[in-house]
Symmetry: C2
Subunit: 527 residues, 2 copies
């Protein structure tokens, strides 16, 4: 096949890079993702622009860093002027939709200033940044939040039709377990993470979203499409339906990546994160191992449903004309480095799996390849535009098309550093550190060998990934590495300066501009 | 008076900081601006965010650096999501209007994406970024450009009513002189800059704009207002009406600030600017001195009309309730450093006059003060909001209110460096240097003593302003100053990181966010 008609952009939520067998997990076998990697390229050094859902996703969808797009955390609306995948692809007639999570919040204030409401077609497009909401479901529906949103959730309707009763079966069935006496045990409590969810496997969120993806593809027929199939799991609530809840036990777990030295003289921001409740919790082996059963089961379940989906694509002929991407929005510390959740910049948090299957014959020579060059989340949108022959967006997009890597081409000028960042204003750590809401910023720059983290107002971190691949020795204050820190800081400056801010005028328009000015009769400096 | 009701924000275009008598010019006497300085504060270290009209003005109007607002050069539209003065002040019932130039271009593509046209009230507000176009006139109307804009210009209509004939009396009368045989000599040609314009003084642009400002104030009556009176001159075409065209001759000119060493081993970007036609032109003393007659005359004329305006304000009682600002959008090299125009970062280009008269009694103690603290163009909008008691915009505004300086308060944490930048993609210099349209960037950071200029892809410049206040010795490659350059580069990084990108969520909302999340039932890390 020589062209890409459709794009299937699959994302798992909070999936670590190393919890797939193709990435080396010794006990968690993911044959369907592995098989996709055998047919495509597996990127072994892929990084997100921010290790937290909202800003990471906004970067995937806009092709721009959080530093540029400004949706710096989960609840921060994407500014109305930022273009997303749909803005680029819809003009081609591609149906661009989501099944699952985007975590994007509409810029309602920006819309109101321009007199826009959700009720109009344009308002709807802007309010659902990025994708038609074919099955928009951000996957977090505790009762309070669901009520605030008006109580509407398609998945709940579906469950109720199947006989799962109550106001919010998402919470009480799909994300809860049952005690010995029939009492409901919430999936929000980590101690229940190795119990089976109160739901049949085929009625779980992962099964439902896979079904909805196939329905979308069926329904869209011959019309070209981009589908963002965005699984809600293995993100918390960490709870899997049987039989996935207890496929993995102590013999299956890899050891935590941490040592006692990390707690001595820790960088102050790292220290503040270690001191947060969630980190304390995951530093406890009982918690970690209880969660791991659920976490690993949820991943295994996704892999099984991807097998079902890939079979469907094969049968329907879609493997011939569809580019398939599998990735994640960030990782999960799971107790490594004495941390829970994500947010900081160790590999467990900021590195993600990335597999791309390109149906074009030009990609035949790279099938099964493991690619070590450094890539970033913002490279995907340029890759998609490249596959659809859309040009002229260099003034907005900050990543690079991966086509040369997919097609086995030389790339002598490929980037030699990746960049990520966090706005930690929303965390307890900001309060602990007594930092203003606008100053809780950290920036990572990572080369093949070094990882440097700049914390605004605090000392930096530095890791030597060659001699310390597990990032257990922070060289941020070590006098012997001052030159390296200087070099890395210079790279960070260069990267920030590379930000694309002239978004309202293309490079081509700039090149023509002065000539056009001369045509108007403006004469500068002529005596 | 204890409150500020109105704000009169006066800007001259391309006025150097040192071409006013209160700033030390030995022969150009500007008694009316001097008198304003005696009644207010004269800022002796005021800098623009970019030494070229469009981006500099966009920074004044948005309170944000060009790095953030993205209107990086004259023809680059201000992105639709950027808020301007009117967005902040109109909700208070203030009429916010312009008489004269803004150089802002509407983001028509961004508007079209949202279904907005100029025809609606909101569309009009967005298309005229910043101000109601009471008398919008960007002051550059060569025939070709006027035709492209549909030929409409109020000033031309006014002139025609007064008997100045032709399609474009702006060009053929107000900005042209006459030869001995009645032939028209264009003001676009610098050799005509010391000839009188073909127009009565009271019909010139400066007179007209002053009239229009008074009409606006009269007409607005008791309704509070912000008026941006934005003079078109002394920007080119450099041509003044009699008697201003020849008030100043060779005995009045200050010597050019340049020496031969600057041309030896010049920084490559500086070299490329020196090689441009306009720089070659102004490096010729005949050109420089011809232009100086016109340039100085135009400034003297503005000062005289400001005298008329201030008298009007005094008589009408507006001096009691109106904050008055006088400043410029950038300077003019006028042959200094072998350059013409502006764009680079010598003091002649990037430093501007800034006088603020604050009617409040709290400002009585600073009347006549010369303020040496470093201030920036982006400080004005916060100052205006402060004067009107508008709070809560720290997540967008990048400058600092000058109220403490106006009211004689201590400011122990005041900034110790100012920042400016340029996108030189639009210049011949970019072609000479063979730089891509997205890479033609330069950034200045200046402390009390040092000025460091980072050119993307080229070596930096460094000046020691204590020992070399005229900036004639570039230390950018001098090995003895490596530590200083490192320090300045670190400051530049810090400044870029200070960019306000989380524009859709206030600091207060951030601080409350996590608590609100807990209320919804989301539990993170609880075992």
């Amino acid at each position: 096949m020589s062209t890409v008609r459709n794009i299937l952009f699959i994302m798992a939520d909070q999936l670590r890079w190393d919890y797939l067998s193709c990435y080396g997990h010794p006990t968690l076998k993911t044959p369907n993702i592995d098989r996709l990697a055998e047919r495509g390229v597996r990127f072994d050094a892929a990084y997100v622009q921010s290790p937290v859902c909202g800003p990471s996703r906004a970067s995937y969808y806009t092709g721009r860093t959080a530093f540029s797009h400004g949706a710096t955390w989960n609840q921060v609306p994407l500014p109305i002027g930022e273009l997303t995948m749909g803005d680029y692809l819809r003009p081609l007639g591609m149906r661009t939709a989501v099944v699952g999570k985007t975590h994007m919040k509409a810029d309602l204030e920006g819309m109101a200033r321009l007199g826009l409401t959700r009720e109009t077609e344009i308002g709807m497009m802007i309010a659902e940044p990025g994708f038609d909401p074919y099955e928009r479901d951000d996957g977090l529906h505790p009762d309070g939040l669901l009520k605030r949103r008006g109580g509407i959730l398609s998945y709940n309707d579906w469950l109720r039709n199947l006989g799962y009763d109550g106001d919010n079966p998402w919470n009480s069935w799909a994300n809860s377990a049952e005690g010995e006496n029939g009492e409901i045990l919430s999936g929000w409590h980590l101690r229940n993470s190795n119990l089976p969810a109160r739901i049949k496997e085929e009625h779980s969120e992962t099964a439902y979203m896979t079904n909805r993806a196939m329905e979308f593809i069926d329904e869209t027929g011959a019309n070209p499409w981009l589908l963002h199939l965005s699984y809600i799991k293995p993100h918390w609530p960490y709870i899997a339906p049987a039989p996935y809840h207890n496929l993995y036990g102590p013999n299956s777990f890899i050891a935590p990546n941490r040592n006692d030295n990390e707690r001595l003289k820790a960088n102050p921001v790292y220290r503040a994160f270690m001191d947060m409740d969630v980190s304390q919790s995951f530093s406890n082996d009982e918690v970690r191992e209880t969660v791991l059963s659920g976490y690993m089961g949820l991943i295994k379940q996704i892999d099984d449903h991807l097998g079902r989906l890939f079979e469907f694509l094969e049968t329907s002929g879609r493997m011939d004309d569809t580019m398939i991407v599998f990735t994640s929005d960030h990782g999960d510390y799971l107790g490594d480095h004495w941390l829970g959740e994500k947010e900081l910049f160790h590999e467990e948090s900021v590195r993600v799996p990335l597999v791309i299957y390109d149906p074009r014959s030009a990609a035949d020579q790279t099938r099964g390849r493991v690619e070590n060059r450094l890539v970033e989340a913002i490279d995907l949108l340029p890759t998609f535009l490249d596959a659809k022959d859309i040009e002229g967006n260099n003034h907005r997009l900050e990543g690079h098309s991966l086509t040369p890597l997919l097609h086995g081409q030389e790339t002598p000028d490929w980037r030699d550093a990746v960049f990520s960042e966090i706005d930690y204003a929303f965390y307890e750590a900001r309060k602990t550190l007594n930092v203003n809401a606008g100053d809780a910023r950290a920036y990572m720059i990572r080369t093949e060998r070094w990882k440097y983290i700049y914390f605004k107002g605090f000392s930096p971190q530095l890791f030597d990934l060659k001699n310390d691949p597990n990032e257990l020795v922070d060289l941020g204050l070590n006098g012997a590495f001052e030159t390296i820190r200087h070099e890395m800081k210079d790279r960070l400056l260069e990267r920030l300066i590379d930000r694309k801010n002239r978004t309202t005028m293309t490079d081509e328009q700039v090149i023509r501009a002065r000539d056009r000015e001369k045509e108007t009769g403006i004469l500068i400096g002529v005596f």
